[in-house]
Subunit: 251 residues, 2 copies
């Protein structure tokens, strides 16, 4: 038996998210179908993080076990063959120790949240940005974001349905940068609460609009009250960009 | 009567191209439907360049005439309203003199051709890149591209169906750059022959694969024979990025 780590890219549009739901197609079902087909037996897959419906991934990581030997390059090709025509692609495969776990071995996760900040709706980036027509002050958003860095109780930015044992998280990076009409929010932490990045993005939007001063982010954080923060930003702007392990898995 | 210049973005996927064909939906039909609806009468639109089926635009320019006065911002909003839900968006509108012409007043056009150069097929950029799994030498492609700069007979890179009077064109820029898994070809000229950018891209691919030395680009150009150059690169990697006018129209 060999445990394999797989680096995945997907467009979350039209999927119900990573996890299987009663209705709709999940990323998990696409990946497990491919792994099971090539294994010739049911092959469950474990993910580093269960992305929500509509959320994308550039660098999701999963693991599963295979009985028969296979070269990493061939495994990538076989998975991609069986995942066609869905917008899910295996980028890399790496053999890992039997006790390695895509979720529990992860020591860091990074997300990008993309806002298209112009009047006209997106034609090219449709489904891969949050379209906000009113002008946003990205510098104010960045200033506000810095109040969230460090170890805090993130209850104000946590989904009601969040199943984590603790609301404590350590936010290592929350940068907001404008590139032309696009505003990118880059977030990095060991792990995030459910909806944390989208709730931070939805609150930073209020700062960008001038409806909240940057320092309000500190007050909202300290309140530990979900009702104080902004609405959850829509899933289509969110990308899981990387999951980190030590030692690194994909070089 | 007021002539209007409109800056357009579109995803060419699923369209038959700018121009109406017997079957399928054209970008032109979407834009003319919107302009005609808001004008209350048939309103023909003239484009800076007729993009082929599947080709995208970040900065296409068109013009049409409207009898009733309207603010530029309102014109953009009204066009976008009437173009929904198609992936065509008006970005800007500018009043121009009655003899101004989106096609004949243009003094420069720029294109980007995007190659995704990795084994795995594109999940996120599906329909917006040419996927080439074999490793390409972008530096060799760039070296080869430089042989095409300047004023030449581009018959070797011209579609058989090209309707231009002359095969002479002046290529101002042809840069090839790698950014991670992505290779971008940036092309700029006063104007291009039909399929010229895609035929240059398809030939530079052969240089990138090592099947042709960079200097072969000079030989192919000099031969003035379409059969000497590579196959036409697929439309989904091509973006019309900008059309230039003097004076500038959109500031």
């Amino acid at each position: 038996m060999q445990r394999w780590a797989i680096l995945l890219e997907y467009d979350g549009t039209g999927f119900v998210g990573w996890q299987q739901q009663a209705d709709g197609v999940s990323i998990q079902s696409i990946v497990e179908h491919a792994a099971s087909t090539l294994a010739g037996q049911p092959t469950p897959c474990t993910t580093a993080g269960r992305t929500d419906a509509g959320v994308h991934a550039e660098g999701q990581v999963i693991h599963f076990d295979l009985a028969r030997p296979i070269e990493p390059e061939k495994l990538v090709l076989a998975l991609n063959f069986h995942m066609k025509p869905h917008r899910v692609a295996a980028l890399r495969a790496a053999a890992v120790p039997p006790d390695w776990n895509a979720r529990f071995s992860a020591i860091g996760r990074a997300y990008r949240y993309v806002i298209l900040n112009r009047r006209a709706r997106p034609a090219l980036a449709h489904g891969q940005v949050w379209h906000l027509p009113q002008p946003l002050d990205a510098a104010a958003m960045h200033a506000g974001a810095q109040y969230l860095l460090g170890r805090h109780d993130f209850t104000s930015f946590r989904a009601i349905a969040c199943q984590a044992n603790s609301p404590l998280r350590t936010l290592d990076r929350l940068d907001v940068r404008r590139h032309g009409d696009t505003i990118e929010i880059i977030a990095a932490a060991r792990s995030f609460l459910h909806h944390q990045v989208r709730n931070m993005a939805g609150t930073l939007k209020l700062v960008g609009e001038g409806r909240l001063p940057p320092s309000a982010m500190a007050d909202i954080l300290a309140a530990c009250d979900r009702r104080r923060a902004g609405a959850t930003a829509p899933p289509e702007g969110l990308f899981l960009t990387a999951v980190r392990y030590a030692p690194a898995v994909f070089g």
